[in-house]
């Protein structure tokens, strides 16, 4: 008990702020909002994820931002890269666990739900919530899928997402130009444009795509 007190935490952790908000989760979301601008666009034909790669020193390789989860799913994230990597691995393990149990590929909704559950656990104990939002793109029995999962454990499906730095600007741009019958090239252009608008400069991005024709997730070479 006294150890807790000396650590400055007190007997009980203060989860809720005066407005009834979860302070730690809000802080995690705040951290995500400082992360690299990251986008997801979905049409019935394909889903595309794209993330800004922050420039590093010339001798340092930039870190990977688009991750293959399984052959049919890919993901990207915004926030602390260490946290993102942890969540990516959680997704990969869950995808393989499903294959072991059912001898079949996992559906994207189940993946998003699993990650939501995983993140939610960090909101009910006195621990640091993961400072990362993740966008998952994939294909399953129900077609092309796109999900966003937040540090609170919330997850939602949709056709256009933007997270990270100036994501509001990026999302507005996507909303303005999105159409369900757009081509892959148009979507690529749109995502680049949205990130450029958000950052005010021509960015280096990494992009991944899954299409209903190929049924496989792959990175798009720059």
């Amino acid at each position: 008990m006294s150890e807790d007190a000396s650590a400055g935490v007190g007997r009980f952790a203060n989860f809720y702020g005066p407005q009834g908000r979860l302070v730690l989760v809000d802080s995690a979301l705040e951290a995500v909002n400082r992360g690299s601008t990251t986008i997801g666009i979905k049409t019935p034909e394909f889903a595309l994820i794209s993330s800004h790669i922050k420039p590093t020193r010339t001798l340092i390789d930039p870190s990977e931002k688009i991750f293959a989860i399984d052959s049919h799913v890919g993901a990207t994230g915004s926030g602390y890269i260490g946290d993102i990597l942890q969540l990516i691995d959680e997704l990969r393990v869950e995808a393989q666990r499903h294959r072991l149990t059912f001898e079949n590929s996992i559906d994207v909704n189940s993946l998003a739900k699993h990650l939501g559950t995983f993140l939610h656990r960090y909101t009910i104990y006195a621990v640091r919530p993961q400072a990362a939002s993740v966008i998952i793109a994939g294909i399953d029995q129900k077609g092309v899928q796109l999900y966003q999962v937040d540090p609170s454990g919330t997850f939602f499906g949709g056709s256009g997402f933007a997270i990270g730095q100036s994501s509001e600007v990026a999302l507005t741009e996507i909303q303005r130009e999105y159409s369900a019958d757009m081509s892959v090239e148009q979507a690529l252009k749109l995502s680049n444009k949205a990130i450029e608008k958000a950052l005010g400069e021509r960015p280096v991005v990494e992009t991944g795509i899954v299409t209903i024709k190929e049924k496989e997730f792959r990175k798009i070479p720059q």
Binding site: L100, T101, F102, E103, N104, D107, N109, S110, K113
Partner: protein
């Protein structure tokens, strides 16, 4: 003991069984149900220890329902069979095997499927299969008359014939025949 038979048809699947439950040289029951319907698209025929089979079926039923609620669409036939086989395999590895050989048969988006799942945890995908002490006799009938373009109606006849033949010569099988046909309502035409 027992004879169970499963056939994949172009319209779905058909399962057949006898009704005898043996207790050594004694007929324990003459009205045993050896075909368990999991739902409208899946059924499992049982050979071996009834209690073990009932347990596996109970778990499979629950897991299937749970999975459908969670992800919004049901497990297909292979997924269901693998689920059961995983239980069987962990039983085997823990020196407490489930004494069963199951015919898992049903329909999904890809048409009809008949799988055999045994106590080792292995599964095989078959056009037709038989299990139990009467299976060598049933196989004799199946091998001679089965073809891929069979209808459910025709398959019902063959299944009855196969089980009937086994009941004639296998003392572990007898006391009548059960037949269950699962029509494929999910896909209009099964492509080959």
């Amino acid at each position: 003991m027992t004879t169970i038979v499963g056939i994949k048809t172009k319209e779905g699947v058909v399962l057949g069984s006898d009704k005898r439950a043996s207790k050594g040289f004694f007929i324990g029951s003459k009205i045993t149900q050896k075909i368990a319907k999991i739902d409208e698209t899946l059924a499992i025929a049982i050979a071996g220890q009834l209690s073990d089979a009932e347990y596996l079926i109970k778990v499979a039923k629950a897991e299937r329902k749970l999975m459908e609620l969670r992800r919004g669409f049901p497990l297909d036939v292979k997924e269901s069979t693998r689920l059961i086989a995983n239980l069987a395999y962990s039983g085997l590895r823990n020196y407490q095997p489930y004494y069963v050989e199951l015919l898992v048969a049903g329909v999904d988006q890809d048409g009809g499927h008949v799988f055999v799942a045994d106590m080792s945890g292995a599964i095989t995908n078959e056009d037709f299969a038989a299990s139990g002490s009467g299976s060598p006799i049933a196989y004799g009938v199946l091998e001679s008359v089965y073809n891929k373009d069979i209808t459910n109606e025709k398959a019902k006849e063959i299944v009855s014939k196969a089980v009937a033949a086994a009941m004639e010569r296998d003392p572990g099988s007898g006391n009548g025949i059960d037949v269950l046909a699962i029509p494929n309502l999910l896909v209009k035409e099964v492509s080959r």
